[in-house]
Symmetry: C3
């Protein structure tokens, strides 16, 4: 089903009926409202003006739309922060971040917790049983604009409490943080400070604990809202709209408390800020990274424990990136079908009509500011037409291949990158991309996820490994490919006692005795079979009893193992890229008995039940890898650029 984001408070009352009518006419079923309406519904302390919101819900609902109501806590009103300045977040330099945009609150502010509960309670009480309200969204885009990490006095107080709860005694903390180093010893939790503005880097455990604490603050902030909503509005699903692969907090943990995960899809900015080379960014300029969006669908499917929506789908060019190119014509349709193929059950476009004022006036909508239809509108209409040809009820199946994304491991490498530019997110996406180019569906999993059914588990950057996860891997049928740094840190951010990757010793016989991070201008190489490949900026020296499958080449430790393994597990001592990565992933898939297609190049495929999908991200027409006898429901076997094909095979 499709929907749209709408801001009644930004438009004259007289336009609402017409807007609602046109939404329904287009074929939309859902409408999200309310997530920035606090100042609108409570313009002065305690003075609630419900009338406008009441009418908006009524008008939209009566037109036939299902309302998703957002809690407005992402933007507290000015009068509130003026009364309680300790609501405001503080940046890493120690400067208070002021009112005037959004997300101007600190998750640790006790006062803001009270105020947020008050407004959510008021909204939930008023609309919880409203027949037009079919779902709730908490807040908006946790983590946007670096707002997970605040360095306020309230954050310091809460961090101390969190540490006391985690460690029990200060000596336990001293042990974990390694404070015998550099005389950093603490005599009590009230001596602990936040890890900003230090003379040099803090203990990595100090940093990672601060990231864990900040992550937990998001979870408890969100859960408080969910609890209130559930009390007043039972039976309506609660969601939160996450952002494209933000790793400032543990999304799985927030996901535990909601019913559906949703996320906001902006592939154009994602491309420019992303992992690709300038050459590839130019190639995919108006279609986006062919794998980034799919990766996130798969990730948030895991966060939502199977249920995932798109709450904001880019409908045209936007405003917030360094440059803001337009999507190629056809991409709004393509992204909608891509979402569906990856198991997404609702796609909501952001936004109905382009706003002619304020910060996002360069952000396209389905309608232009003058209410004429924009390109996105036409493509949505096409999708809605096409949907009629698609059988309902097809469900995305569990994949054969899983990639582990572990938030604590991301915290770990952020605290202790060791080499500038080491980015777990880019590495994981590169691995995902290699699998996708071979036509294989992927699940993203956490260490808590069920492993049943996976033939291959990829762990590109699993730095901190749970013993339980290792045990379950061992007990599973899956083969596993580990990237470098796997198992290299304990939960306390120490090197494991018998060297990395000690926690993996039940799976593979290996000791990493040396790690190197290397600058870009250096050409490190690996010999695999008879071919020599350049590799990236990470190299480990390993001692192993396992079979050596590839070796480093060159003057320095020539012949040192670069890939080792046994029948269950393989370990990479470097970061292969490009063709070499594609080759290694292909070999791993073959090893695990997963069927692959020849390299798809710019094409991508996906399956949802009996439905097969293909998407063309390239500049030229491409032949779809449909088996003979395929029945095309949408498109055909030769796929134009930015085009979609959907078929079934009997």
């Amino acid at each position: 089903e499709l929907g749209v984001c709408y801001y009644p408070e930004q438009w004259p009352r007289a336009k609402w009926e017409e807007d609602a009518r046109r939404m329904v006419e287009l074929g939309l079923a859902w409408v999200r409202i309310g997530e920035f309406a606090w100042a609108h519904i409570e313009p002065r302390p305690g003075e609630f003006h419900w009338k406008s919101m009441d009418e908006a819900v009524d008008v939209l609902g009566k037109a036939g739309l299902k309302v998703i109501l957002g809690t407005p806590t992402a933007a507290p009103p000015k009068w509130l922060v003026d009364r309680h300045p300790d609501i405001l977040p503080v940046d890493v330099k120690g400067v208070v971040r002021k009112f005037g945009a959004r997300r101007h609150y600190c998750f640790s502010s006790r006062r803001y917790r009270i105020e947020a509960a008050r407004i959510v309670e008021a909204m939930a009480a008023r609309y919880g049983a409203n027949p037009f309200v079919h779902a709730w969204q908490t807040d908006n885009e946790y983590g946007d604009h670096d707002t997970i990490h605040s360095y306020s006095d309230e954050a310091r107080r809460a961090f101390r409490e969190w540490l006391a709860a985690r460690y029990g005694t200060i000596e336990a903390l001293n042990q974990a943080w390694g404070t015998s180093f550099w005389a950093m010893h603490y005599n009590g939790f009230d001596e602990i400070d936040l890890p900003n503005n230090l003379v040099e880097e803090p203990s990595p455990t100090h940093l990672v604990d601060y990231m864990r604490f900040s992550s937990d603050q998001v979870k408890s902030f969100n859960k408080a809202q969910v609890d209130i909503i559930r009390r007043h509005s039972p039976g309506r699903p609660v969601t939160h709209n996450f952002m494209s692969q933000n790793t400032d907090f543990n999304h799985y943990k927030v996901g535990e408390d909601i019913d559906v995960a949703s996320w906001d899809v902006y592939p154009m900015g994602g491309l420019l800020n992303g992992r690709l080379s300038a050459e590839d960014k130019a190639r995919y300029l108006r279609v986006g990274d062919p794998d980034q969006t799919a990766f996130n669908h798969d990730l948030y499917r895991a966060v939502g424990r199977g249920r995932v929506w798109v709450m904001e789908q880019q409908p045209g060019p936007v405003n917030w990136a360094a440059h803001n190119q337009a999507p190629a014509d056809g991409m709004v349709r393509l992204w909608t079908w891509l979402a569906y193929a990856h198991g997404v059950d609702m796609v909501s476009y952001f936004r109905w009509r382009q706003a002619p004022f304020a910060q996002e006036q360069f952000h396209a909508g389905l309608l232009l500011p003058d209410s004429e239809t924009d390109q996105g509108y036409l493509e949505v209409a096409q999708v809605i037409e096409e949907m009629k040809r698609i059988p309902r009820g097809e469900a995305r199946e569990k994949a054969k291949v899983a990639i582990v994304l572990d938030y604590e491991s991301r915290f770990a490498t952020r605290a202790l990158p060791q080499g500038r530019g080491y980015a777990g997110a880019a590495i994981a996406l590169d691995w995902y991309s290699a699998v996708a180019r071979l036509g294989v569906d992927v699940d993203i999993i956490g260490q808590h996820s069920d492993l049943a059914g996976y033939a291959l588990v990829l762990a590109p950057d699993l730095v901190i490994v749970d013993p339980d996860f290792v045990a379950r891997l061992k007990a599973s049928d899956a083969k596993i490919l580990f990237g470098p740094r796997s198992g290299s840190k304990t939960r306390d951010m120490h090197i494991p006692e018998n060297l990395p990757p000690r926690p993996l010793c039940d799976l593979i016989d290996l000791r990493v005795t040396r790690v190197e991070s290397l600058p870009d201008f250096h050409d490190e190489r690996v010999l695999h079979g008879n071919s020599s490949y350049p590799v990236g900026t990470w190299r480990e020296t390993v001692c192993t009893g396992e079979t050596v499958l590839a070796t480093f080449e060159g003057a320095y430790r020539n012949g040192s193992p670069a890939l080792v393994g046994n029948e269950k597990a393989r370990y990479l001592a470097t970061l292969p890229q490009g063709e070499f990565l594609l080759k290694l992933i292909g070999e791993a898939l073959a090893w695990a008995g997963v069927e692959t297609l020849p390299d798809l190049g710019d094409l991508r495929v996906a399956r949802r039940g009996r439905l097969h999908f293909a998407f063309n991200y390239g500049p030229a027409p491409a032949a779809v890898p449909a088996k003979p006898g395929a029945t095309f429901l949408v498109g055909e076997s030769l796929l134009a650029p930015a085009d979609v094909a959907i078929w079934t095979v009997d």
Copy 2:
């Protein structure tokens, strides 16, 4: 006439007579003094030591020099800022900017307004009727070192007052700023804060209003001084020395209150900080951008409503740029003649003698620190010799071509650039350069300027358009070429109601339905005639009833109009550069019936009355485009590098 900047307070009393004598001997007529003398004349609160300044004026005047007296407000003494710390400006991060250099004051400090008035009153009272004082300069280089924008408490207070005056009611402000977006609603002007240290970007209207406010503060600060001076020193022109194309405040508005605009000419640093490619910077390293200085002469001629001086002319290498190359020998002469050709009536060199101490000791003077003559001195002597051959009384005529420079539009694109690197200043200079390479004189105009006589008006970046300006354009004989973004924002920084460029709809039938900013690594192309050209980083999709004169090429919206127009107006939907820009400007000039020369390459020409000038910025000798029968007063028809020719044609 020529002059020089002199600092008697920096030299022993014994040197003054000799210095004055040598100035006169060289042929200088003017001398500027006093603009950093506050601590010298009032070393302690209320304790005035006039003797030294009295003598300086006397010595210089009696030697035959006309004194320009600067008010010393650009550098309040330490005792003053220690007594009143709220004089100090605050930077965008919220850090107080301390004493120890110059411009350490906030334009909004009420206390500083009082103190500035006090010292100006004292100086004007003492020297207003002095027969040797022939002109006044207010303060020094408003805007240097980012000092227009202060984030002090005083600035916040004044900003609130300014907003209350502008909007009358808070609801009018809420409407203009679009505060229904992101719950930014205000209940009163006392809730408004300055737009710094926010979580994300403020409303663009908030930002632009802050820039307008800051600009108005400069105007009122300056006017207060002018009023005092006029009271005590009637009949003497008052000027201010502006900087090369600073756009932090509206110079036309400050220009309204003074008698002559002057500006400070430093082409070497200007080149390095400027618009050109590294390759072109290398080509012009020691001669400077061939158009930047001329552009500024033309701009400040407009700011001074016809009267323009150069208050500081670079005499050799200086100290403040990242690198400080020397001008080629001959350039000081060239720049002096260039100024004259563009209508400048007085050129004053900065400075008489290089200071061997303090911040600018690497800044050349006409004399070396040991009082020997430096290269600049010799070139000034040559100019003075050559001037004798030039008939007096020739006036710069109004040009046939005008380029619109609108400060509010610059504020607008700074608040809402939409694409990193969008720079109105560079675009306008590129357009100017194309006209100049075709041998055509240009006027810079504002929207308030008289349009009579213009055959072609170029509006490269006129984002906010006055309806009155459009009406006058329509009524004029001028043809107009608009750049992209023209008319794209209302005065309140909204998108116009029926889409951009709505305010231009009386001139051209056009709707911009989509804008894109594009990264440098992308190759966008336009087809014009049979040729394909690369274009820059801005692209618009337009719907138009006008003739399409060029179209975009490529996979994305192939054939979409890139240049459209009718008999009166043309609109560019992109930013052409290099050869393509030169071609389009050439066609526009032909369309408007303006006579052009073949591409001048590194040569530039100008006319002042009957006098024709040519300047060679290239590395090789070049033939001057003088008509047969030309009489050369300076130079000859083959022009050496860095050389000047002046001729008349009967």
Copy 3:
């Protein structure tokens, strides 16, 4: 002799005996402990826990090791900074730098002076006469993490006092700082502020005085500790471990107060942060800059007035650079022999065992975290074996060539760089490298150093020259090659009265009338003999009565002198690089009668008494320039990459 850095407080008591035994077994003689132990020995105010440290000294001493005891002042405990927050340093932006790493103190804090004296007194009293304590180290790495310059209230107070002592009267300061410029006049020392957060650059004299003050604070802080130690522990040498060529303070002055200079050798990070091009960094990636380490040995030999140790020798890959490549196998051995060849008498490796926790867990040790031997251990064992073949008692002789490194000159160009990227350190190292490639040993000297015996003195960046040094140069037998900017500033940071390089006028007849700094993209050239060479980013115009040995080429002042000289002194008006620099240095050596070898390329040589050393930094084997009849004690005449040869010639 060899040693190692050890942290008993970081390891279980049970491991100490075993560790000590293995150190001795390896052949180590020294062990450094204690320099971060404050919180360990005084965990709460006044509560001393000596037992652990007592035992550590005892265990190590009884095993046969000589203990170097570090004072723990580089890391005051948390309880101390909580009680006295004015101990904390303040960064240049005015932000307090917090506890949580190390070096979190301001040298000007009166409270910290008291506390530092208290803890040093306590340690010195307890261990001063301990038979196992053979030497002391004060603090740790003065200057690491930009900690010389603090902008605290305490620093401001102390700076005012320092200025009052230096200038006596405020008018003397006004004169020196040139406060007649920009009305910066001061009425008293209590008006002076620190030179941070100004609107623009402060007076360069203000800046240089602040650097001198900060440098003097280090000297007095250090001397206070030395005095206490000497009182309690007479006869034991006191050292401090300096860092690779930090120029934030005058090391010669701190060196005056200690018995041995020591420094910390980390060539891998040094390469990446250093002077070389990316191409050369790739070439030398795992061996380091072939000259940087040698340069520093020679520098600290001067700082230690002949006595120099290596306190921390990199034993493998580390953690703190942007990238952290491993040294090639063999380099730990090579660096050890290199140190010996350059006169170093003790090399201590950092650290015994890699720490599995806290900030430096990626920093290798001689042992891996699991106590297995790492590569460094094996190489140390090899060195110890080889040492047995080397005759004792050979001393490094005074070189024939000296390079002047003057800290005040470095302060001067930092305060007034005039061209971005001007870096005295890189220039001096380039000159050193040219001498080294010609096989010639070098001494680094200060202006105070004895000049006897030098045939050639190189002064690449001697901006501020002492008249006494000039007189001694003149009286010496040395020929001198001056770089540009030599003698260009007085002690007060003024241009000398009769233009630079006035203070050198007794040596060379020269006036610099113009200086230029040039951007990288410009190609400035010099004609020398019949060859044309590119030169760097500095060019001066000189008037001279001396012989012109090379001239600038090109359109700008073609033929202007680039190198001039007489029989005693030569002056370069530009910064030659690469082959041209090698050629000029070679000619200077020939001029001075110093015997050279043909260009050694990647090879380097050194002599210590009768011992000749060669080191191969290249990727290919190379022939050692040993004379016929050489007796090889280590290695042989064809030297493998990363290999060392030692021979004698009878």
